[in-house]
């Protein structure tokens, strides 16, 4: 293999990109848009949910436990309204004007006090707050339940009582202040690079075939391996540039935490870009036109998007489906980049993922070269 010829291909691919603003926009603006949309959608929390309280507690004035609990409701989450009866409150949930009815039973305060002082004759129903939520949307009902539970815990604590058992989760081994976006941002960056590199190589190579440039090149001293290597270097560089832009956006716009070595993360992403490039060239052998090439997109994107651990861990994927996750290069890239960025891991810890990506890269590039070399 002659490096100068492979380098000529690299320069050609990068020049092509420089001169084509549409492609440049696709490479940099599209993933930025994706990460912004995901960032905005996933960093937001449920706010101002209307709940209807039915307070049947008959305790008087400041000593009412129910009022203390209600005053501890997080008002940024719960927008509290009142109703006189449970049926009225539930009616409001049924007609969609409220998301939950919170019912305090009569003699609630007295019953709780009696129970706390050891009286066993108190019926449990008299100390139970009934929460009737519209659980058709767990994204809304779960924060309501959490807000009520927190208010109850705060009230009990405010009364100077402690639960017999407590869990202290204030310290963390990794990701002390991590939000959900910290978890999925590395995954989104990997998926963006995977998708766009595969798509661009696929379209570029279908273009090389249909425009006749591939024939001209194969009738020149340029070897198939040099062509593939030249593309690999170009897309490795593009992958690093893409991830730099995406990571900067994630840090600036969504304050994503970076603990580890960014250059190591870029290296892993460049490796993923090379794997994607190999896949793109392979797939191009099966498409005669650009329109056919686009049809491969769902096959490339969807499994990687859903099964690589971008939004939920591999352990949450059904066991029978997990082998699919492990044959996806993105699974290893997402895990490695996330470990570097969030956990601060070095090459000594992420090397199994890097080795897996190197194996994918070698196999895909070899197959891509073989498919190009095939003379009918």
């Amino acid at each position: 293999m002659k490096a100068s010829r492979a380098f000529a291909v690299t320069k050609r691919v990068l020049r092509d990109l420089k001169n084509d603003r549409r492609q440049l926009a696709l490479i940099f603006i599209a993933p930025l848009l994706v990460i912004s949309i995901f960032g905005v959608a996933f960093t937001g929390s449920v706010k101002d949910v209307r709940v209807v309280v039915v307070n049947g507690d008959t305790a008087v004035g400041n000593s009412s436990l129910s009022d203390k609990i209600i005053s501890n409701f997080d008002t940024s989450v719960l927008n509290v309204a009142y109703a006189n009866s449970e049926s009225d409150a539930v009616g409001q949930v049924q007609n969609g004007s409220a998301s939950a009815a919170i019912v305090f039973p009569s003699h609630f305060t007295q019953s709780v006090v009696a129970r706390a002082s050891g009286q066993t004759s108190v019926a449990p129903a008299n100390t139970t707050i009934t929460l009737l939520a519209d659980k058709s949307n767990p994204n809304v009902s779960d924060p309501i339940i959490a807000a009520v539970n927190t208010a109850v815990a705060q009230t009990i604590q405010g009364l100077g009582r402690q639960a017999p058992v407590s869990v202290d989760s204030s310290n963390a081994v990794y990701g002390a202040n991590a939000q959900f976006i910290d978890f999925f941002a590395p995954g989104i960056i990997c998926i963006a690079v995977w998708q766009l590199t595969t798509l661009l190589t696929l379209i570029s190579f279908v273009g090389e075939r249909t425009s006749g440039t591939l024939f001209r090149l194969l009738a020149s001293p340029l070897k198939e391996s040099e062509l593939v290597a030249g593309y690999a270097v170009a897309f490795g560089i593009i992958g690093i540039a893409q991830s730099a832009v995406l990571l900067s956006a994630a840090v600036i716009l969504f304050h994503v935490t970076i603990v580890g070595d960014v250059l190591l993360a870029f290296g892993v992403i460049a490796l993923l870009a090379i794997v994607s490039e190999g896949l793109g060239i392979m797939l191009s052998s099966f498409a005669r036109r650009e329109a056919q090439a686009i049809q491969f997109l769902p096959i490339v994107v969807l499994p990687a998007f859903l099964l690589s651990g971008v939004f939920w861990p591999i352990q949450a994927i059904p066991e029978w489906l997990r082998p699919v996750s492990y044959i996806l290069p993105t699974t290893y890239a997402v895990e490695a980049v996330r470990s570097v960025i969030l956990r601060g891991w070095g090459l000594d810890k992420i090397y199994p993922d890097v080795v897996a990506l190197l194996i994918f890269a070698s196999v895909f590039l070899a197959l891509a070269t073989l498919l190009l070399r095939r003379r009918e």
Binding site: K2, S4, R5, A8, V9, K11, R12, R15, D16, N19, D20, Q23, T210, S211, G212, T213, F215, R216, L217, L218, A219, S220, P221, L222, K223, R375, E376
Partner: protein, 242 residues
């Protein structure tokens, strides 16, 4: 005079379809050989075998005395495919520089030859224009310039004048004659019968076979016709009757 191109009993089979059928021909050094025939006659397949892009099913093909496919011979071959084979998002200079680098030319060689070739194809002022900004005819001329950049000894030109206006076609044949006079051997495919008069020798192809071969004058005399199109039809009907 030695043969720069030699094909013996060449056959190419695509899933039972014989694209090239027992083809034998020779192209002498410094000769323009025109391979004529309708679409699907097997001209492009024959050229692709000579350029090492396809493997023959049987038979042999030699270019400059080397049996193809052979990576050693490609440095001396210039191949202009039917398609323009240009990078549309690159400028004229960037296309020429890329193909030059692929053929191992130095920066200085590329600059010097680029100037000469752009002068030859009359596009000296278009050096920094994108291919997409050029007219179809200009793109064809740049495609030819890319083919000639590494100064090949043998040119394989596959339908170089398809989609080209009559003025440019005349210019192209002038270029080809100039190149022939400079000692370059050319195998040109075309389905424009009238163009073939520029060739030193012509081979008529039909159904993958060579049905006649000779100079334009010889073919006209033998068939008692006034045009190569009529001569082709005579041979074509004779072939059908056989």
């Amino acid at each position: 005079m030695k043969d720069d191109v030699c094909i013996r009993n060449l056959e190419k089979d695509f899933d039972g379809f014989k694209a090239v059928n027992n083809l034998s021909l020779r192209v002498k050094h410094g000769e323009i050989y025109g391979l004529l025939g309708p679409n699907g006659a097997g001209k492009t397949t024959a050229i692709r075998i000579l350029c090492g892009l396809l493997r023959p099913s049987s038979g042999e093909a030699y270019v400059l005395g080397t049996k193809v496919p052979d990576p050693g011979v490609v440095q001396n071959i210039g191949y202009m495919p039917q398609e323009l084979a240009l990078y549309r998002n690159l400028t004229v200079h960037e296309n020429l520089a890329f193909y030059g680098e692929v053929f191992g030319l130095s920066k200085q060689q590329i600059e010097t030859r680029e100037q000469a070739l752009l002068k030859l194809v009359d596009l000296e002022t278009s050096r920094n224009l994108l291919i997409d900004e050029l007219s179809g005819g200009m793109q064809h001329r740049i495609s030819l310039a890319c083919t000639l950049l590494h100064q090949p000894q043998v040119l394989f030109l596959d339908e170089p004048t398809v989609g080209v206006d009559p003025d440019l076609r005349a210019s192209f044949w002038r270029y080809f004659e100039e190149l022939r006079d400079a000692g370059i051997t050319m195998l040109i495919t075309t389905h424009y019968m009238d163009e073939a008069r520029h060739c030193d020798r012509i081979g008529f192809m039909r159904g993958g076979r060579l049905i006649a071969e000779g100079s334009a004058r010889e073919l006209l005399e033998l068939t008692h016709t006034d045009s190569l199109e009529d001569a082709f039809l005579v041979y074509s009907r004779t072939e059908e009757l056989q």
